[in-house]
């Protein structure tokens, strides 16, 4: 028989007292470990807006904007948003989430004092701010914006922010709480290819700027005369998606009578010159002229323009390789009209003269 039993036997009243006390103490102790059903007040109208749902790693650039309404008017000194994989239970930080570089983008609104709140990054997985000595009570709706947050790096993952407010500046003295959910998503990568394009056509007739309608390849000046200017026209149209546009050059020789003895030619105009009858002249430009009345200005919605030496009305020139039209950027189609003139002196050798013009369009992408 133990001494305690002896005591019990010797003093049953004392034993009852001890048992009662032990029972109370034990029950009291147990209640400490029992779940606490008296939770903090629920923060309402809670919302977490993240600036990007990208789950890309090494990308601590996301802003987390918390909007909520605190139910109590207790003066707060700190608040936090624990980022967890679950809404309740122990908090596991989602893979990849990081607050190490988080900042307070702006002072919180409605949380208390208008200034003096600072971010705290010392607790991994928890976006925190505090202001020791805050005196103003929360009012209205609250907004807290953290910047430079690294999202969880698992795509299409839901995560939770457990918002808590505290009276202490070191996240002690819990007041209110609320949970919000957010989610990362994978990215949609869009790809496509636009081929480099240069649409160019030449002929003697065209409808609008539509290269599908271009036709003809010969210009006949008929009989040359020392008293009248012979003229003729050809057309071309061009467009490109080349970022630096295009340049069109004319390439060829002047009018030549290949079947004539000595293969005489009609002198080309090496500089811009007005048409002059009775003088050997072969020249061209890209304008609507009056002397002689021939040609047309460019048309179409593009941004093309005339070559430097071929854009003056009634001024003609022919130098092989000259630029006759250009565009400095990607452009819709323009149609150009090349006007040719031929003047001959009285002693121009008889015969059939011809020339071949090759136009080359070069786009720069």
């Amino acid at each position: 028989m133990t001494s305690i039993q002896k005591k019990y036997q010797s003093s049953p009243k004392r034993l009852f007292s001890l048992l009662a006390i032990a029972g109370l103490v034990f029950a009291s102790g147990l209640s400490t470990f029992a779940p606490d059903h008296t939770s903090a007040a629920q923060i309402s109208a809670r919302k977490l807006t993240i600036s990007s749902s990208s789950a890309a790693a090494s990308n601590a650039t996301t802003s987390y904007t918390f909007n909520f309404t605190i139910p109590s008017s207790t003066v707060l000194a700190s608040a936090e948003a624990e980022i967890c994989t679950t809404a309740s239970g122990s908090c596991t930080t989602p893979t990849g989430f990081a607050n190490a570089s988080s900042t307070l983008v702006s002072q919180p609104t409605g949380l208390g004092d208008a200034a003096g709140w600072t971010v705290n990054t010392s607790t991994a997985g928890s976006l925190r701010l505090s202001k020791s000595g805050n005196v103003a009570a929360p009012t209205g709706n609250q907004t807290v914006v953290f910047g430079n947050v690294q999202n969880p790096t698992t795509a299409n993952q839901t995560f939770f922010a457990r918002i808590n407010t505290y009276t202490g500046a070191t996240w002690t003295g819990a007041v209110d709480s609320g949970i919000v959910a957010a989610a990362t998503t994978s990215q949609i990568t869009l790809t496509g290819t636009m081929d480099e394009a240069l649409t160019f056509c030449t002929g003697t007739s065209i409808t609008g700027v539509n290269c599908g309608t271009v036709a003809g390849s010969a210009v006949n000046f008929a009989n040359f005369s020392s008293s009248a200017t012979s003229s003729g026209t050809s057309v071309m149209a061009a467009s490109t998606n080349g970022g630096s546009g295009y340049a069109i050059t004319v390439n060829g020789g002047t009018m030549t009578c290949a079947s004539c003895p000595g293969s005489p030619t009609i002198a080309a105009l090496a500089a811009q010159t007005a048409s002059s009858t009775g003088t050997a002249q072969f020249g061209m430009n890209m304008r609507a002229n009056t002397t002689p009345s021939a040609g047309a200005d460019l048309s179409g919605a593009g941004t093309g323009t005339y070559g430097a030496n071929h854009g003056t009305t009634n001024q003609f020139r022919f130098v092989t390789g000259d630029s006759v039209a250009t565009a400095s950027a990607a452009t819709n189609a323009n149609a150009f009209t090349a006007t040719y003139i031929v003047n001959v002196p009285g002693n121009q050798a008889a015969g059939t003269y011809s020339a071949t013009m090759n136009y080359i369009a070069t786009a720069t992408f």
Binding site: S31, P35, F160, T189, T191, M194, D195, N241
Partner: protein
């Protein structure tokens, strides 16, 4: 001896009372051989729950009612029942497609592509889905986003989306409520909810639900038209959808 029995009884009773307190706050009931996570157990079947004046429609035990949710009414009684579920918020936002290749862009044929995403939320005042990202680019050239609603027009540079089942061009699908419109309520926002009308404004809201909703499956329809001045090159761009719930 009588005192000893009394003492033992008191000790046992004290512990039983204490244990009773503890078990009363334990949400889960379990032992080695069973576990009940939610210890509120309702009637177990329609056949056993009828009389002249009442009936309990026990969905969980009857074919065709998956949720145990239902309304029972008779002349004298009315019961609305449902499963007890977590009060935790939930927001699921998942993208079903990770890449779209539009192939060769053309001035005469509209390039198209679709992507799917699903949204589900719980215990919230609804959600909003925003789309983020610039149109595809090559070098310094970016496809022209359709800043206002309009039809697909070949020969005009356009980058646009909507969330409908279109005929011009023939792409896309309307939103699908899962499991049904009784439980799911998400819908495209007005500007992205017009058949054959496309638009793309970075950051705009493209879908939403005004209340807690089951899963809604959306199809994003993309169109790209090129013009003669659309810069040549390989275009690429990234887009993300952003789901935000209010709780």
């Amino acid at each position: 001896m009588h005192k000893r029995q009394t003492l033992s009884l008191i000790i046992v009773a004290t512990f039983l009372v204490i244990l009773g307190v503890v078990s009363g706050v334990d949400a889960a009931t379990n032992s080695t051989n069973y576990r009940i996570d939610e210890d509120f157990i309702g009637p177990g079947g329609q056949l056993e729950s009828n009389s002249t004046n009442y009936r309990l429609d026990q969905g969980q035990s009857s074919a065709g009612n998956a949720g145990g949710v239902g309304e029972s009414a008779s002349t004298n009684f009315q019961v609305q029942s449902g499963s007890t579920t977590t009060s935790d918020p939930r927001l699921s936002c998942s993208l079903g497609s990770s890449s779209l290749n539009f192939g060769a862009l053309s001035t005469s044929v509209t390039a198209t592509g679709t992507a799917t995403f699903s949204v589900l939320n719980y215990t919230s005042y609804g959600y909003v889905v925003n789309i983020l990202g610039t149109p595809p680019t090559t070098g310094s050239s970016t496809l022209t986003a359709m800043g206002s609603n309009g039809p697909s027009t070949t020969g005009t540079e356009q980058f646009g989306i909507n969330l409908r089942d279109n005929s011009t061009p023939n792409i896309g699908a309307d939103a699908v409520q899962n499991p049904s419109g009784t439980f799911s309520f998400g819908a495209p926002t007005t500007n992205y909810n017009i058949v054959n009308s496309y638009r793309y404004v970075n950051g705009e809201s493209i879908a939403s639900s005004v209340r807690s909703s089951g899963q809604t499956d959306y199809t994003l329809s993309y169109i790209i038209n090129a013009s003669t001045t659309t810069a040549g090159g390989a275009y690429s761009g990234n887009q993300t959808i952003l789901c935000t719930g209010t709780y």
